[in-house]
Symmetry: C2
């Protein structure tokens, strides 16, 4: 078995070796660019970890791991266009560097590249691999659609928000786990438990993200603390506060403020008065507990689960 | 065996029955919209025709036909964004109706829908079906990239143009034929011949399009005759004329004109002086002959080929 760092290394080594056609250069350079920007490679590592629960031949899952990482990066390219984002991981976004049309098209071809990686799996598992991947990809698109729609809606409920982050973020973690399980030879029950593990971890992960955005250590967070408050993002914290506050406090949450620093300060105060951080933590832990339950229920030797427990700890204790 | 009209009917009946999730409505409504705008359904009909060369169970290929039609419509949605096109088949384009971000995302999910259709084929042919589809999809994206790049380049050669239309238009017809052949149970040689038939027919089809754009009957053409001349599109006619004309005639082809009508008139005159229509027809017939040769070489009873010969005739004798 490989530890998480070794698995990440396998992915990092494999990515520069992916052979894209040399021409048209402007179609394939953006793919190499976005794929090389790094990140923690959590999703492909999860694929490999799921496979290693069932077999020592982790390399059997490499193509699926690359499919998941390519698909994830494709969503980043298209999401950045939709969000009009100038930067991604501190570097120019693809559409900033190559233009919007080029970014649309390079994204499209990344979807094809994902499918090419996928089609290399053992033909015995090809059909369930495709079904899982397509369902996952569809969910991610639906999540992005809801996320966009929520920006202009004033009546988003907490349930709707959880459903949105489930689709946009969590199903991809669930899908990564299930795909790794299928390639590793898991039976249906274990594959489904690993899907549940990944999906619940994904919701917990995103709730943690929402909390860090307000309560992260500015020295360690990497982004501007309070970014979600400044942009009035309808996060779990925002929606929970909106439900609890007195009518006369609505202006603090939704109104205009002198400047962004002051806005972050008074909204954070409001959150503190209503114990929003604790409520969010409770919600987060609910999903984390479901993830751990799925892991417990998995009919695999406990020693094989160490990596997943370690990864979960790393993800949930992160400060950025 | 079904005649071309019957096959078209099978497609037209199947499209409204595709079950998309009800929510998010704004993600799936654009798909139903673009898929319902019609067109000749040439690509899915070609899939079915290829299948019927080898088996009477044409219905086995319906999912692949729908995959090809969905993929084709996906490319229309994204190409229309890139081309900033307001209309498609006389109706508003998806991005005009739902906005660019929504159109990007609905296009993305159409790619997933194509793959979902594909994954329903018999598992015995799943792998070659995927490989053929992915190679086709990749080629189409490369063709669109080249088409965009040619707009701002002044040194496009005739060979490059042919390669661009091969990728952008012809590989999808080749892919449709090959996919239908695989599903029908064709051996590799026949599948490859049908790919060649489709691809060469596709190049001939596009060259015919270029000719019709200048020499079509205004009563029957459906679009403005001379549109390519007005937009300085680097078609086969334009590039051939550019090679042949005297230096002092360059201004007629590339310079400014009083108005678009006058421009169409004098450029058409220039084309006539150099026999551009005949040269284009010769080139077109070269590819058409290759297509017919592939059809002749096919080791299938001649009576089964009637439909393909009929479709080819219809396509090449069309006036719009």
């Amino acid at each position: 078995m490989h530890n998480p760092t070794e698995l990440q290394k396998i992915i990092e080594n494999a990515i520069p070796k992916i052979a894209y056609p040399p021409q048209p250069a402007n179609l394939y350079e953006p793919i190499k660019y976005i794929m090389s920007l790094g990140g923690k490679r959590i999703r492909p590592v999860m694929v490999l970890m799921a496979t290693e629960l069932f077999t020592d031949e982790v390399i059997k899952a490499l193509d699926v791991a690359l499919a998941i990482e390519t698909f994830h990066n494709f969503t980043l390219v298209h999401d950045d266009i939709m969000d009009n984002a100038p930067l991604r991981r501190g570097k120019k976004t693809v559409h900033e560097k190559w233009g919007v049309n080029n970014a649309i098209l390079s994204g499209d071809v990344m979807m094809v590249e994902s499918n090419k990686h996928l089609s290399k799996v053992d033909v015995n598992v090809l059909k369930p691999v495709l079904d899982t991947f397509n369902q996952t990809a569809q969910g991610v698109c639906e999540g992005q659609q809801l996320d966009m729609e929520f920006e202009t809606r004033d009546d988003v409920s907490i349930e709707e928000y959880i459903e949105m982050i489930r689709l946009k973020t969590a199903v991809l973690l669930g899908g990564a786990m299930k795909l790794g399980a299928i390639v590793g030879g898991a039976d249906e029950k274990n594959a489904e438990l690993l899907y549940q593990f990944g999906e619940n971890l994904g919701v917990a992960f995103q709730l943690q993200d929402d909390i860090l955005d307000v309560y992260g250590d500015p020295e360690k967070f990497g982004k501007q603390v309070g970014g979600d408050i400044i942009s009035n993002k309808k996060t779990f914290l925002h929606l929970t506060a909106k439900q609890l506050i007195k009518t006369e406090e609505t202006d603090i949450l939704l109104g205009n403020h002198e400047n962004t620093e002051q806005k972050v300060a008074v909204v954070t105060d409001l959150y503190n008065n209503y114990g929003i951080k604790e409520l969010s933590n409770t919600e987060m832990k609910k999903y984390l507990a479901k993830a751990y339950q799925a892991l417990d229920d998995l009919t695999v030797e406990e020693s094989r689960k160490t990596n997943l427990r370690e990864l979960t700890k790393q993800i949930m204790e992160r400060e950025s």
